[in-house]
Each structure stands twice: as structure tokens, then as C-alpha cells.
Subunit: 311 residues, 2 copies
């Protein structure tokens, strides 16, 4: 095979209370990377589309190229690749945009070179890429790579756990047109928290994991919303967050949380009809406030990244 | 029925990383409370045995009497009870001694009055009793009352979750003869913790809940030992904790943690033979250090408190 095209999905990190430890891959929304062999060593970024010209073309600064380069290094490849990146995800939206590019590139490159590495083997390469843009966090890259809902307690395969996806879970993802830089979203977090808050947060995270295992979407929704540390600190970064949540609940959302560091809002719903209604309601609300918004109704993706073309 | 005798088991709170949110009931070790009708209102403490005369006989200060009184109040009983308490558990050992007395008393009193309350209904009564001696915590009373491994995220029934008990789990419980007052064990804890520690603790607690649900005892053992906040702060209160743990691991323990606020050490084992070996090894180690110790090999109790005699 001389040309491989891979897709990697958007991901919702945190799920409310699971700051830096939980992430969920979603269906149908994500980035595409195409790679082909090159006689020159290293990674050449041939073209990036869908980014409105905002992403760096320099291979050392582009997450897709960094991930691909890290895979090449691991494979001790003497040849290189040419890489096309097609962004389906908006940048800095809280949907794991950089992670999706990195994962698609790593998966495509691995297949181009005979698929000698497992998905788990690719984790260090995509973490290298993520580190270059937003710190070495696996809460977006792990679910984009492996699919499903993923618990991350470290960066070794034994510390990454796929959790059950409850049956009948639908998601509304609404991204208002506001900027929330990841660095700022980290800067507003408290440096220390009271021990009492630790007890509360460990309890509700435990409740969330229990809810996933027993398939109780109502309990999942309740536990997601019981975060007292991260989301309250970030609330001021997202205009009208409280009001948008109220709109969502009135339209059928069981829980509405900030996806990753925002500004995307992720709502849990029991039907696709509800997810569509929540999309429309939140988007209409923001429109009334003169803020545009894009919306997607989707479901969790059990599979994560996939190969979409191999020529 | 005019006379009811109830048993309530010892409990291991925290399970390492689950400070104030997790507790486990164990088999065969616990307190007995006998109650009978009295024409006088209120609770008369007739006799306490097994406590070496240390527990208060005044009903207002005795956890069994407080719990029984709280049940009587809930039932709007016009008559009272006479109460006998037989302590099977050592005091201030980290095995939920006060909780076991309170739970046995509440369960016995409820049955004496026709068992109109469910186990969940009895929770406020036993919390009243626990509050009088060590604060309003449910991590001992909930598992003693309900059995099994219990997650507590609040004090309403909807916030108390019974978790699966993995098959083939054996426990060694060794109590060295040292005093660790609960108040002191709370005082050594940090008032605030870094956000980074929150991420770590929520991750390992999530891993522990996942391990229970998938029945992976090795993962359970690993996650229990990854506490970086509570047990490190308390380590100095238990003489030779580090050495005792090493002895336990060499004898077959998969994990050894402080039970509740100590000094009891709870070790996870894969067989009853291993649990007995760990008991002997830790006890022998402490004997060499001129510290006595009592040891019990047991298993999780799925049932919690029970009626042992009804005449």
C-alpha cells in the first residue's frame, strides 16, 4: 500500500467531574490524515485543509506531523512520508482537535509501514504530539486512539482502561463562537483545593464509574454535574454558561458539561430527537445573544480511529 | 417477640484511596446487641461486656444506645427498651467498632418493634450515633448496615451504592496494640492538597471502582495502594508501617492498607492460606518489636448486620 487515509474522532474530555482522567470518543466528527511514502526521510506536510490557514505547516509544530515523525522514529524508518491533513474539527473548541489530527496521522503512518504496532503502542507517539500543543495529557488522545469511554491514570497501557458505554446514550455537542484558549482554561484552576473537596470529587467520580458499569444514564448524568472544582472555576470563561445549561435542561438534556476546556458544551440525552432539540435550543439561545454556534447530535464511538482508504 | 439479639460486622473504611467514601463489611467479626421491651420510655443500658469497662454506660454517650434511641424516636414509641451490648471488636482499632454497636442496636430495635423500617431507613439513626463519637461519616455504618462494599457520596439512599465484591477475595486484618485516636488521625491530614493530587486520587479511585466491577483483584490491589494523600499523612501514627507492609507482601499480600484511621492493617489476599500466613507474619514481626497484635483472616460480608436470636 502506498497511500493511507485515516480518520480520528472528536473527543469529550473530563465528562464533568473526571478532570484529566476521563475522555469519550464520538461518532462521525473528526479529522482525516492521508499519508504516502516518500524517498526523503522525515515528514513533509503537503497540505492542510479546513483550518482556515491557522495551523502551522512546519512539521516540528504540527501535531499530525509530530505524531507521524514519532511513529517513523519508533519504526526506525529510513524513508519518510508526505502528509495531508483535512480538519473536520474546529480548533480550540474543546473537542480534542489536536489529538484527532495526531491520532489519525499515527494510525495512518503505522498502517503505511505494515501495521507492526498496536493501538496501545501508538500512545507515546500521540502523547509526544499532544505535549507540543497542550501538555502531555491522554484524556483526548487515548479515546481518539482506542474508542469508547476511557479512564486514564497514567501513560502506560496498564493505566488506561476502557469503560463500558451505556446503551441508549445520545450526545448534543454545541460549540459557541467564542475563544477559550487551553492555557487560559488551565490558568483559572485553583492550585490547591480543600481536603473536603477531594472527598467530594473522589466520591462523585466513583459514582460516575459505577454508573457506567451498571448502565444507569440518570446516575451518570447526576454524577457528571456534581463537579465542585474544575467547572465552577471555568464557568466565567464561557459566556452565558448557566443560562445555556438551563436551556438545555428544558429541552431534554439530562446533564450539560463543558467538553474539555470548552467552549463546546456536551449534553447527555436519552434519544437522538432530544439531542437534536438540545442542539437547536442552545444554538438559538446563543443566536439571541449575538453569538454564533455550531451543533452536532452524535453518539459515543466504540471504535475510535479507523482507516477509511488504502490504495 | 420480646427479645432480639443482633450482630453487626466490623468494617474496613477507606480501602486505601477511598478516604471517607468507601467501606467494606467483613465476616465473623463484630458486635452483638440484645434488646427487650421495657415499660419505661427511652433506652436503659443494662450491661456492656467485652469492652474492659471502657465504654460509657450513660445512654446519651453510648453509640448503641444513641442509635436505639433514634430508632425509638422515629417510631414514636411510647415504651422503651433495655439494651445489652457485647463488644466483639476492640475499641479505636480502625475496624468500625462504634459503627458496629450502633448498627446492631438499630437493627435489633427495629425488629423488636415489628421491623417497619428498611435498612436504608435506619441510616439516619446510626449516623446520629456515629456523629456522637467520630463525626457524621457513613463509611463504617453504611457497610455494617447494608453489607458488602459500599460507596458513599452523601447521606441519602440515592447517594449510597453497593458495589460488586470480587470472587475469591480474602482479607487479613492485623491490629497492633498501639493507640491511634480517631481525632489525631484526622488532625494529621493536610487541610488543602494540590490540584495535581486531586487528578491522581480521582484517577485511582476510578480505577478501584472499575476493578471491583470487572472483578480484577490485582487491579483492585494496585489502585488501593496508590493513595498519595491520606495514608502518607497517617503513616507516622502507626509504628513500623512500612516494614509491616513489606512483611505482608513477602507473605502473599497483594495490598496492605490502613483500615479506617488505624491501627489495624488490612491486607488483600487470593486465598485463605495466604491471609493466615500474612496474619502470622505481621503479628510475628510486631512481636519482635515488642508490640502485641491480634489477627483475623476473613472475607467480605455480603449481608452486613443480621438477627441472631429472636425469642
Amino acid at each position: 500500500m502506498q497511500r493511507i487515509r485515516a480518520f480520528a474522532p472528536a473527543t469529550v474530555a473530563n465528562l464533568g467531574v473526571g478532570f484529566d482522567i476521563l475522555g469519550l470518543a464520538v461518532d462521525g466528527l473528526g479529522d482525516f490524515v492521508t499519508v504516502e511514502m516518500s524517498s526523503h526521510p522525515g515528514v513533509e506536510v503537503v497540505e492542510i485543509t479546513g483550518d482556515e490557514g491557522k495551523l502551522p505547516r512546519t512539521p516540528e509544530k504540527n501535531t499530525a506531523a509530530i505524531a507521524a515523525q514519532s511513529v517513523l522514529k519508533h519504526l526506525r524508518a529510513s524513508t519518510g512520508i508526505r502528509l495531508w491533513l483535512n480538519k473536520g474539527l474546529p480548533l480550540a473548541s474543546g473537542l480534542g482537535s489536536s489529538a484527532a489530527s495526531a491520532v489519525a496521522a499515527a494510525v495512518a503512518t503505522n498502517v503505511l509501514f505494515g501495521e507492526t504496532m498496536t493501538r496501545e503502542d501508538l500512545l507515546p507517539a500521540v502523547l509526544d504530539a499532544e505535549e507540543a500543543v497542550s501538555g502531555r495529557h491522554a484524556d483526548n488522545v487515548a479515546p481518539a486512539l482506542l474508542g469508547g469511554i476511557v479512564l486514564i491514570t497514567g501513560h502506560t497501557p496498564a493505566e488506561i482502561h476502557r469503560l463500558p458505554i451505556p446503551e441508549g446514550l445520545y450526545l448534543s455537542l454545541v460549540t459557541p463562537d467564542v475563544e477559550v484558549p487551553t492555557a487560559k482554561a488551565r490558568a483559572v484552576l485553583p492550585e490547591v483545593i480543600p481536603l473536603k473537596a477531594l472527598v467530594h470529587q473522589t466520591g462523585v467520580v466513583a459514582e460516575l464509574i459505577h454508573a457506567l458499569h451498571v448502565g444507569n444514564i440518570h446516575l451518570l448524568a447526576r454524577s457528571m454535574q456534581r463537579d465542585t472544582v474544575v467547572e465552577p472555576a471555568r464557568a466565567s470563561l464561557i459566556p452565558f454558561l448557566k443560562e445555556a445549561k438551563e436551556v438545555a435542561y428544558r429541552s431534554g438534556a439530562l446533564a450539560t458539561v463543558i467538553s474539555g476546556s470548552g467552549p463546546t458544551l456536551c449534553s447527555l440525552c436519552l434519544t437522538s430527537t432530544d439531542a437534536e432539540a438540545v442542539n437547536l435550543a442552545i444554538a438559538a439561545f446563543y443566536k439571541d445573544e449575538n453569538i454564533g454556534a455550531t451543533a452536532h447530535a452524535t453518539t459515543p464511538s466504540a471504535t475510535g480511529a479507523s482507516i477509511v482508504e488504502a490504495l
